[in-house]
Amino acid sequence: MTPTRRRRLAMISLILGAVVIAAVITVRALQENVTYLYSPSEVHEGHVAKDARFRLGGVVEEHSIQRAGDSLKVDFVVTDRFQTIPVEYTGILPDLFREGQSIVATGAMNGGRFVASEVLAKHDETYMPKEVADAIAKAKALKSRDSGDGIGDSVKK
């Protein structure tokens, strides 16, 4: 091996090493900062670690919104048409928040309830966020696998 080649090899290994280290650090940092999105069915199946913060995606169930008369507390139920999770939130909800609207709420489970610190509804009223659509499709797949029938009504707790 000529000195030039040796130098080049050393250079390339150094660069490769630096890239690998940078990639590992980046992925670790990202991994520590992600929040996962789950559907109510996944929550019921025990996918969520206890006390973990996560995002709950689904549709606000019809006739489930209840506002407290004296504070900003709101209770509602999020469903993926198979399972439901009761949610509580204190604060002002986004403009597009409505019964039947798909939403993504961030927070954690407390007992059987999801306590949300942030609720997002999307800008466009006809648009269902891809992640919510996915969550519902996934719940559908779970349901058909478990019970054998393809389509079912929403299953209440």
């Binding site: 929040t35 996962y36 004296d70 909800l93 409505r98």
Partner: protein, 661 residues
């Protein structure tokens, strides 16, 4: 009939774009003058047809031609006339047409102002611009025809998305696109140099103002978007690290690195390959931004126009442009690289650090923006990266930038003196530290103390602002009259001063703003941040195409009325969507921001959002200074006047300015 003419104009523009791309390129490779001469007429012809198509679509909106599907979907007969113009780019098809129109504006400008450059070089530049235009026109014609008819013709249109019915949104997309698309000039310039296998420093000088102008427009576009999100989305935030915001921010970060590295390449001949690479990245990220926004591939609060099949086309085009340009770079970069040596203590070193930090920040934003996509592709579940991730890391990249920025102008090219620079900057350092101590002490005495972040923000702002002020002063003292402030230098001073204002705004508002969501009954008063807010109830109000619940809040300080604010909850005539309109009492040192939530109970009480935001305007004011700096620097005559041939050859002998193959 007229919309079909628009379609025809688009197809003719497409064909001319193909001619503009292929013929001059062949001409430049073979030295064929006739083919090279095709470039400029093709540019003019294409621009005429694109402008015609755009005018026809605008006409369809203004005359409310609901037989055109795009018009029917994004307008209705109640839409005020001024929004009929901005509705043209309110959704996918029209905003794409706007993109192409702006690309043509840039191309025509390049063709018009480049007569002093060698013909074969400019032929290659225009060919690359023609290729980009061809790709976008093909995309428009094949997948996103804005002139498609709606049959049977609907009686009325669907209305423009209410969040887009706002003055801030009239100008936001055109300014943003001016920036995005403006980087295509630096990009095509870089590719032309690489294809030709030759990089003349004079060409870099010619390219600099174009990059500066594009960067200035992008700065303005991002600032407008941030300002719009602040008052229109009703959350009072000014930056969310949302994927679509990131999409516009990444080209800005790389563009910032690019304008600094272009300065080095032009003045010292160094960083040649790096400058070319940055030019490729800046435009590639602009394309990626278009892809991210237009394909709906990311879940984002901005998903106005989403269609995965279109995404596939853009992805293909993106791969072709980025992959192709990087391949050309890999093959040709060694031929154009080279440059002057410089010492560790020199302006080059500082600008190199600047470039590494900005490129690093852009890489950080890019990985975090794309990570959820990767996670989904690899079946790791649906994940998202929250703002804290970005916030912390971005500060890590930018803190050294702020710390080192004042040194830049005080260090000489090639070999400078750190100590002399620090001596010159001593007043700024003392000022910053003194202000921090005084602010902390005063705040401790009169209140519970200021948050650490606000003190750091004020000190950093003084450091940068005084630092650049000292440099302006030293020019006044030492430079001969008439040569004290060239526009290029003045632009730098203004932009860096903008950074000082921006830093103060960001850190102070983040540290001290007060946000309260509360229930208020009529005539109830609440104390927030030393101000009394009296809720005077909610009444009905109406606009041209909406009805609204309008609240009244009177803000009092002692007995004096500070402001009367009327936030609204609007219900537009079409659709069921409700739109919150916040009400703001703006001020240089604080904004009072109120928005309505929902009615609570039956006694007329409402949920009300009340924010007091100190110094929030400084964020956009700083951005405006940066923008102004970009424009002023671009106006320098030095970039336009090519020096006499003799002096240039002398320079070329002294420094290997022209790296021949």
């Amino acid at each position: 009939m007229i919309p079909e003419l628009g379609q025809l104009a688009l197809i003719l523009a497409l064909l001319l774009a193909a001619a503009q791309c292929i013929l001059p390129l062949i001409g430049a490779q073979r030295g064929n003058r006739a083919l090279i001469a095709v470039a400029r007429p093709a540019v003019a012809g294409q621009a005429v047809f694109v402008a015609l198509a755009f005018a026809i679509l605008t006409y369809a909106f203004v005359t409310q031609d609901f037989s055109v599907k795009y018009v029917a979907l994004n307008s209705n007969h109640l839409l005020p006339w001024y929004y009929r113009f901005s509705a043209v780019w309110g959704a996918h098809e029209g905003s794409l047409l706007l993109w192409v129109l702006i690309l043509n504006v840039w191309t025509v400008a390049v063709a018009a102002f480049s007569h002093r450059l060698p013909d074969d070089f400019i032929a290659r530049v225009l060919a690359v611009l023609g290729f980009i235009s061809f790709g976008f026109l093909l995309f428009t014609v094949l997948t996103s025809n804005p002139f498609e008819r709606a049959l049977p013709m609907p009686f009325d249109g669907n209305d423009l998305n209410p969040v887009l019915q706002d003055p801030g949104l009239i100008m936001h997309p055109p300014m943003l696109y001016m920036g995005y698309v403006g980087f295509s000039v630096a990009f095509s310039f870089a590719l032309a140099a690489l294809i030709g296998g030759e990089l003349d420093v004079r060409w870099v000088r010619w390219a600099r103002p174009w990059t500066n102008i594009a960067w200035a427009f992008l700065t303005l576009g991002i600032a407008l978007g941030s300002w719009w999100a602040y008052y229109e989305l009703g959350w009072g935030g000014w930056w969310f690290w949302d994927p679509v915001e990131n999409a516009s921010f990444m080209p800005w970060l790389i563009g910032t690195a690019l304008i600094h590295s272009q300065a080095v390449t032009e003045k010292r001949g160094s960083f040649r390959a790096w400058t070319l690479l940055l030019a490729i990245f800046a435009f590639s990220l602009s394309l990626l931004g278009t892809f991210l926004v237009r394909s709906g591939v990311l879940t984002s609060v901005h998903s106005f126009a989403s269609d995965p099949t279109r995404g596939l086309f853009i992805l293909g085009f993106l791969t072709l442009v980025i992959g192709g340009s990087l391949a050309i770079f890999a093959a040709r970069a060694p031929k154009v690289s080279g440059g002057e040596p410089f010492a560790a203590a020199s302006r080059e070193t500082l600008l190199l650090i600047n470039n590494l930090l900005f490129a690093g920040a852009a890489a950080m934003v890019l990985t975090a923006t794309l990570y959820p996509l990767l996670g989904e592709a690899l079946n790791l579940g649906r994940i998202s990266i929250g703002p804290p991730y970005y916030g912390l890391r971005f500060v890590m990249f930018m803190a050294p930038v702020v710390l080192l920025m004042p040194f830049g102008p005080f260090l000489r090219w090639r070999s400078g003196d750190w100590r002399a620079a620090l001596r010159s900057l001593m007043p700024a350092l003392i000022g910053a530290v003194a202000l921090a101590i005084v602010a902390a002490v005063i705040a401790r005495i009169v209140a519970d103390g200021l948050p650490f972040k606000a003190i750091v923000g004020a000190a950093a702002s003084i450091w940068v602002g005084l630092g650049i002020g000292l440099y302006a002063l030293s020019r006044l003292r030492t430079a001969p009259p008439g040569r004290r402030y060239t526009p290029e230098m003045l632009g730098m001073i203004l932009a860096h001063f903008g950074v000082a204002i921006f830093v103060a705004g960001v850190l102070i508002v983040e540290a001290t703003n007060i946000e309260k969501d509360i229930k208020l009954a009529p005539n109830e008063t609440v104390e927030i941040g030393g101000l009394a807010f009296r809720f005077d109830g909610v009444k009905s109000a109406a606009g041209p195409n909406f009805k609204a619940d309008q609240g009244t809040l009177t803000v009092l300080k002692g007995d004096a009325v500070v402001a009367t604010l009327n936030p609204q909850k609007r219900q537009y005539s079409r659709g069921t969507q409700v739109q919150t309109e916040s009400a703001i009492d703006p001020g240089l040192f604080r904004d009072i921001y109120v928005a309505l939530g929902e009615p609570i109970g039956t006694d007329g009480a409402w949920a009300v959002r009340i924010y007091v935001k100190p110094f929030v305007r400084w964020i956009w004011l700083g951005a405006l200074f940066m923008m102004l700096g970009g424009f002023v620097a671009a106006a320098d005559r030095r970039f336009r006047a090519l020096p006499a041939a003799k002096r240039e050859t002398e320079r070329a002998l002294m420094t290997p300015a022209r790296a021949q193959v």
